[in-house]
Amino acid sequence: MTKWELIIAMVFSTPFRRLTTASISRALAFAALTFAPHFTSAAEPASIPVGLVAALSGQSAASGEAITRGLAVAIDEINQAGGVLGRPLTLVRRDDESNPGKGIAAARELISREHVAAFFGGIDTPVSVALVPIANKEKTPFIGVWAAGTAITRNGANPNYVFRVSAVDVLVDQRLMRYTVTIAKAQRPGLMLIDNPWGESNRAGLEAAAKAAGVSVTGAESFESGDTDMTPQLTRLKMAGADAIILVGNAAPAAEVIRSLDRMGWAVPVISHWGISGGRFPELAGPSAEKVAFIQTYSFFKSSARGEAVLAALEKKYPAIKGAEDIIAPVGTADAYDAMHLLALAIAKAGSTEGPAIQAALEALPPYDGLIKRYAPAFTAANHDALGADDYIMVHFAENKIVPVQ
């Protein structure tokens, strides 16, 4: 049955004596909804929607904002250059509130109602892990730009619709351990891990990395994101002889760890995964925040022509940004920026917005000079992680700014 036939049927399936203005109105409304896109498409090409499921509120709201900024600047550049397949890109955002259940609902809505060509993920590994089966089942590419859980991209699916332009826990753990042993000169690090799949993922990775580095992990303690005092866990590590703390957690609970260390008067090197850069860590942790060395994939203090161009675009679009020091959570912005460009390249290469075509194109992209590095190529069928261990840098906070460790 064609659309016209359906409209005629809606009007005349009603017995004539009951043919009311209501039934006619229903048919007219249906006609308007059905044909409106065709009328507008004559004037301007329909946009290609791309989604974002990330923490836009709550403890990690800053991470969602940073990702949004990176995507928005990249989309502006792509649209100014004529868009993709002659169509502009639009960003459709949904807040997962760091809650896997809300993330799943948001992803389903983006796919089924907004018809996104692909969608990006946020900071929370538990949310991203929950989104993996949806992306693979719905055949919609999902590109992680922050969450580092190893199992997100290495999920066993074939074909695998999950890609990542971000760090990978198993590689981050090796880098953190290398820094702990060679720079912090520690031989018996203790682990402080958030009590969720992300913490678990890093525990395995850090223990393996310690073994490979020839040192032993003194102990592994976990904490909840709502804990207000970490001194019991830290006291246990101290009594066990820990000479450094490797910290895995997002900004708010990680700040509690630092405050608890201050309270104990225990001056021990702290080396952290990058979750602390997704919130107001310096404000929450106090002056000791500056002592924490942590990992990033990019620093806007790194000078390059592309970096300066992106910084200028960010300053223009977001007047609160006056320089590199004002970019909140730079890793989210940089990863998202490159991921958006890679996705646009894939859509162009695929010549389609269909998920399977984009997935195949992502696995066969040509070399691309991005903000973070030259991707040559970004992904292959066997490797869906665009960044490797050599792309990570160690940084610390200095008066609220994230600067490379000297």
Binding site: E224, P232, T235
Partner: protein, 289 residues
């Protein structure tokens, strides 16, 4: 480890005690409980943060305004979410106070934002060593405040006309009214005092934790658990139960792990109430036959 757990447990337990005292005050006067206590605590923390950090007010003014605001909220809450239901002999005040708490929490999320903020305080910066354990001066202030306020309340209810009026209203509201005590005004005062106390708990704990719009929920539940554990009738009992609850949590975290904290604290509540249904320090009401 032991000393550290004691210090940490007493500090957090004093907070639970202050909240429990808030529950106790409205209960003894009006036989109703303000289930928005957790949200009032959050209100105290959020208002003092906004006035001190965002607007730069001097700390004493910020604290005074926050406490007056919390007391005012208590008065409004009593008027719209408790009194109408009690007047009709309904227990719907229970749901009404829960709803009011959620309303305040969501309003705070809208106005204050959902992002956690850090409240600076000179009392939470440099620890002092006590029995080999680092203790922040604010921990000691919180502990002394919790115990001190319970003592003041206990003495005040026995030695001041207003305190006696409070107790008279709960024993026999009609007789109290015949003696010239305005039961309605006394109940309003109880709600204002209870809310101000809980607001003070929020002000005190703000520098020790993250200030967020949803920070009051867990504290509200644990404060109520402490009130039930101690026996809602005794001011010193609920504060002691708060300290016990804090100690149980700290020891469970220290010797078992943070995954056991909630199980230990609420397990303790269930076991204690099984053994003493009227609370650890409460008494079964006398029945005249």
């Amino acid at each position: 480890m032991f000393a550290a757990s004691v210090i940490s447990g007493l500090a957090i337990g004093a907070m639970y005690g202050l909240l429990a005292l808030g529950y106790h005050i409205t209960w003894v006067v009006s036989r109703s409980v303000n289930f928005a206590q957790g949200s009032v605590m959050m209100l105290g923390a959020v208002v003092v943060f906004s006035l001190r950090v965002t607007l730069g007010w001097p700390m004493p003014f910020a604290i005074a305004t926050a406490l007056i605001g919390c007391a005012g909220f208590g008065i409004v809450l009593e008027r719209i979410a408790v009194r109408p239901f009690r007047a009709r002999g309904s227990d719907s005040w229970l749901m009404a106070t829960v709803a009011a708490g959620m309303l305040v929490e969501n309003a705070a999320m809208f106005l204050f934002g959902k992002e956690p903020r850090g409240m600076p305080s000179a009392l939470a910066r440099h620890p002092v060593m006590l029995f080999g354990v680092g203790v922040l001066p604010l921990h000691i202030v919180i502990l002394l405040t919790g115990i001190g306020l319970a003592g003041v309340f206990l003495v005040a209810t026995r030695a001041t006309p207003l305190g006696k009026a409070l107790l008279a209203v709960v024993q026999n509201p009609r007789a109290a009214q015949l003696m010239g005590i305005d039961a309605t005004k006394v109940t309003v005062f109880a709600y204002a005092l209870s809310s101000a106390l809980v607001g003070l708990a929020g002000v005190l704990i703000a520098p020790l934790t993250n200030v967020t719009a949803d920070m009051g929920f867990v504290f509200g539940i644990k404060g109520f658990a402490a009130a039930i554990l101690g026996g809602l009738e005794t001011p010193w009992g609920v504060v002691l139960a708060g300290l016990l609850l804090g100690l149980a949590e700290a020891f469970a975290t220290a010797f078992v792990g943070s995954g056991a904290t909630v199980m230990a604290s609420f397990g303790l509540v269930i076991v204690a109430l099984y053994l003493r249904p009227h609370g650890l320090f409460g008494r079964a009401p006398a029945r005249k036959v």
